[in-house]
Amino acid sequence: MTTTTTYDLKQVIDNTNLTMGATRKEVGEFVTASVKRGFYSVCVFPNMIPTARRMTAGTKTKVAAVVSFPLGADTPEVKRYEALNCIELGADEIDLVINVAEARMGHFDAITAEVRTVKNALGRDHILKTIIEVPLLTKDQVIGAAVAAEKGGADIVKTSTGFKGLQLRATTPEDVQLLRSILKPQTGIKASGGVSTLEKTLAVLNVGATRIGTSSGIAILDAAK
């Protein structure tokens, strides 16, 4: 078992607040606390980017924003514009939900195309994470979608939205292991959705996750002390 000292935990965590209807004050306090703990980034909704930007100004903590979240059911052009709008507002990184229906239909070229559309717009300066929603897919669909997203230029493949309304199962180390076995070494893997304890965090890091998405970042750091 790898110990907590092997990883700089705070630097692999996107500390996340995607609470429906959270107020600016609530998100502002969340961001301030996240900055204080030195997380790699805060992950927020697009309408909270200005708040997050203000609270991270002059710090190393980056701002990540979710696009086409949580259903991914927008056209590629809409996703492109939404992503660009997020960057304009001050987001550093984009967490994009792929068109999960296309994955379920085996239309993997369509996924490559939409990811490429967004990645081309963002350029090299902004990391693009693509959420493939593993819990809704078969193993073959996971492989197809992940490889398609990588081919389209995704910097990181992200497992799940963790959207409560869909009652999705949690991401498992096996999910991460599968992705690690098929993706290029330089493609990152973000484990998210039910990764809410230190134990779970270490388990997914041990099998190849390079980033963690969780709303429990502070509790995880505290547990590692």
């Binding site: 429906m20 056209t75 068109n99 309304g165």
Partner: protein
């Protein structure tokens, strides 16, 4: 309780697909088949934004109206993204738009943002029907009345209670709005309306429309009355 004939009931239903998220084309067509579009005239049939182009001709050829959703289901997209989504939906053939209010702005007390955001979408939609989702499931009665007033200020005269995904509408939610706004606002009951009795209870309180994914069971029950 009122007793409603099957055609009257169908005419106030926004029919949507239930079951698995990220429906495939086959599942969407199977849903269309299941609700007997040649037999019933619905208020509208709902599809996800990425399916508007696919479904528009199919539905229009059968005399049905198509509704899609904007900033859905969490209401956390920016105004710019909402306008882009709306423009795409209209270009692809949508007849109606259900747009989510910026719940965070509302709960942050930034009422001007709530109004400005929706007003721009209202203008973008031209003469099409626009309904605004105000999340009655998470608001107090007073907050619901406040939100509805802001939506009216934005020029939108049709409310949709909730986006579903666990946000359940009660007949009381409908009564609160109807008592306060009378005929100034129409209301669609959306979220947790699954049975004929649910539907009639909403209509008894003044609901102008019902959104449901349980179309067949509601209409079957109606035909047996």
């Amino acid at each position: 309780m009122a007793v409603l004939g099957i055609e009257t009931l169908a005419s106030v239903i926004d029919a949507s697909i239930g079951g698995a998220p990220a429906a495939t084309e086959e599942e969407v067509l199977s849903f269309f088949g299941s609700i007997q579009l040649d037999k019933h005239k619905f208020a509208a049939v709902r599809v996800e934004p990425s399916y508007v182009k696919f479904a528009a001709n199919y539905l229009h050829d059968r005399g049905q109206r198509l509704v899609t959703v904007i900033s859905y289901p969490l209401g956390a997209m920016t105004t710019v993204a909402k306008v882009i989504q709306a423009e795409q939906a209209l270009a692809d053939g949508a007849d109606e738009l259900d747009v989510a209010m910026d719940l965070s702005a509302f709960r942050s007390g930034d009422y001007q943002q709530v109004v400005d955001d929706l007003r721009i979408v209202r203008r973008t939609a031209g003469d099409r029907v626009v309904k605004a989702i105000y999340y009655s499931a998470v608001l107090t009665d007073q907050e619901s009345i406040k939100a509805a007033g802001l939506i009216l200020d934005a020029g939108i005269t049709f409310l949709k209670t909730n986006p579903g995904y666990g946000n359940v509408t009660t007949p009381h939610h409908i009564a609160v709005i109807k008592k306060h706004f009378k005929d100034d606002l129409k209301v669609m009951a959306s979220g947790g309306v699954r049975t004929y009795d649910d539907a009639v209870a909403m209509i008894d309180q003044g609901a102008d429309r019902i959104a449901t994914s349980s179309v067949s069971s509601i209409l079957d029950r109606s035909s047996k009355r």
